[in-house]
Amino acid sequence: MVERLLLDTLVTGLPLVIAYLGIYTVFRLRSDFDLTVEGSFALGGAATAVALTAGTDPVLALLAGAAAGAVAGLVTAMLHRVLKVQVLLAGLVTSIGLFSVTLLVLGVPTVSLLSADTIFGRSGDRTVSLVLGVIVIAVLVLYGLFLRTEIGLALRASGVNPRMARSQGVDDRAMMTLALVMANGMAGFGAGLVVQTQGYADVNMGIGTFVAGVAAILLGELIMRPHGSAIIRIVACVLVGTLVYRLILVGALRMGLPAADLKGITALTLVIAVAAHRYVASGLRRAARSLVRSREGVS
């Protein structure tokens, strides 16, 4: 029973870690809201599914999903840069437009992959979890290393204090473009993994991705307490947050809740996480302030 619960959590949660790490990139590192993910997630899944049914190598199919997502991010970035539309609005417009694009790519609302070859073949949930685990760890490590580079640092700084970043020679707008392309590429890649684990792609599979990702991030932040320079905590926050969030959903399903209630559980999780942030985080801030005061008293 517990094993089943954990395996379900891993198989459905691990692919989402990558997509939610993409959401973290814009939501936390850039302090902005990118709703493109709702569309790029579905598009990435669709691209992967269509590539698989056409007999493409499953790994290449994943990359096709990532590329499709990245292009979607680029569209939002261009709307933001050229037309000076806010990221929130640009992402919303792109995600709505992408629904039609995704339907066009899929041809039908749902494409089954029963007959197609996936990276998992016919293996059981244990093997699938293991393969997913290796892929996710690899992506998390690469992401963490990227954040430590000069460009990654510039990206982190530009989200915290754009004025300061510009005065240190960081092209703020280029960083926004980079964040949007990366975030949606990762959403597309994650969606490709989702499609390969669940065995189908659906035109509606992106709906609610953003809110679910934010809920997972807030949960992860409660546990890991990441900040701009604590990179291991950042990747751990998304990993732990996503898995805990999925555990809640899988647990709710196991307890006999109908699948239709899952969106409600997501919203509830988000509300509880926000409430916990308010309560716990304000206590932490007080502690930090008194720490600063005591240090100033000494100096």
């Binding site: 640092l153 204090n161 320079s229």
Partner: protein, 265 residues
């Protein structure tokens, strides 16, 4: 050398709240000169800094840096040669990031940022060396978040960051205004040292007439977007605070309380 040629800066042009911040201002700052700038509220001091740093584009006129026309270059493109310290101690650093990350960001200023790691043992050693010089003990706290530092420490850190990567122009925008008198005095000492060490063309805006008179080799008095006084080192030595007040009131500009009271640091 920094040349500002007939620069006009108009906000809300053509509207009822049209405001001329800089009114055909021309100024040449020879390389390495340390100039202080004083003026009443709305005289155009901060607008001058904004124009030089590239944060704001002038309505007309040109800005030239060492002979290159940089009028249309965005602020981040000028950052390699123009360093800036803001009036708000929180503005110049990223609070969420560690001291070493903030410094690493400044170390890469003016270069193309790559996929090389921002931090290395060599760079950390360089950071410790620079931090040790300001004597705040920050060299032992490289991993601490900047948000934990006091205003004075943050402003000192911003100064160290400004000094990295050897800028040819240093802009100090009322950088002592938000500090308590004791801290302001310490940061002022740091300012003198940094300016002397860098040998950069330095422009320091201040509300404190004593600072304006005591520091630098040249003093500019601004009023309503124009330069109404340009004092060289010799004239500056012979001028008193009262003399400066007379100069500003003579231009029919009101002298704000803040300017008169100043911080007697």
């Amino acid at each position: 050398m920094l040349e500002i040629e007939n620069v006009r800066l108009v906000y809300n042009a053509g509207r009822s709240d049209e405001l001329t911040a800089l009114d055909g201002l021309s100024l040449t700052l020879p390389g390495g000169q340390f100039t202080t700038v004083i003026g009443s509220n709305g005289a155009g001091k901060s607008s001058l800094i904004q124009i030089i740093s590239g944060a704001v584009r002038p309505t007309s006129g040109r800005v030239r840096l060492d002979g290159t026309d940089v009028t249309r270059h965005a602020d981040h493109r000028r950052a390699g040669r123009i360093a800036r310290v803001f009036d708000d101690p929180r503005a110049g650093t990223a609070p969420e990031l560690s001291i070493e990350d903030n410094l690493a960001l400044a170390l890469a200023r003016g270069r193309r940022r790559t996929l090389r790691f921002a931090l290395s043992a060599k760079r950390r050693a360089l950071m410790r060396e620079h931090l040790a010089r300001i004597g705040l003990g920050l060299e032992d706290r490289l991993g601490d978040r900047v948000g934990l530092l006091s205003a004075g420490q943050r402003q000192s850190l911003t100064m160290v960051m400004a000094g990295l990567s050897g800028p040819s122009v240093l802009l100090l925008d009322e950088h002592l205004a938000a500090l308590d008198p004791g801290t302001a005095a310490r940061v002022l000492t740091l300012t003198r040292e940094l300016v002397a060490e860098l040998g950069a063309t330095s422009l320091m805006i201040t509300h404190n007439m004593e600072h304006a008179l005591a520091l630098g080799e040249r003093l500019l008095v601004l009023s309503r977007g124009r330069i109404i006084g340009d004092l060289d080192a010799e004239t500056k030595r012979a001028t008193t605070v009262d003399g400066l007040v007379d100069m500003i009131t003579a231009s029919q500009d009101t002298v704000s309380d803040r300017l008169l009271i100043g911080e007697r640091a």
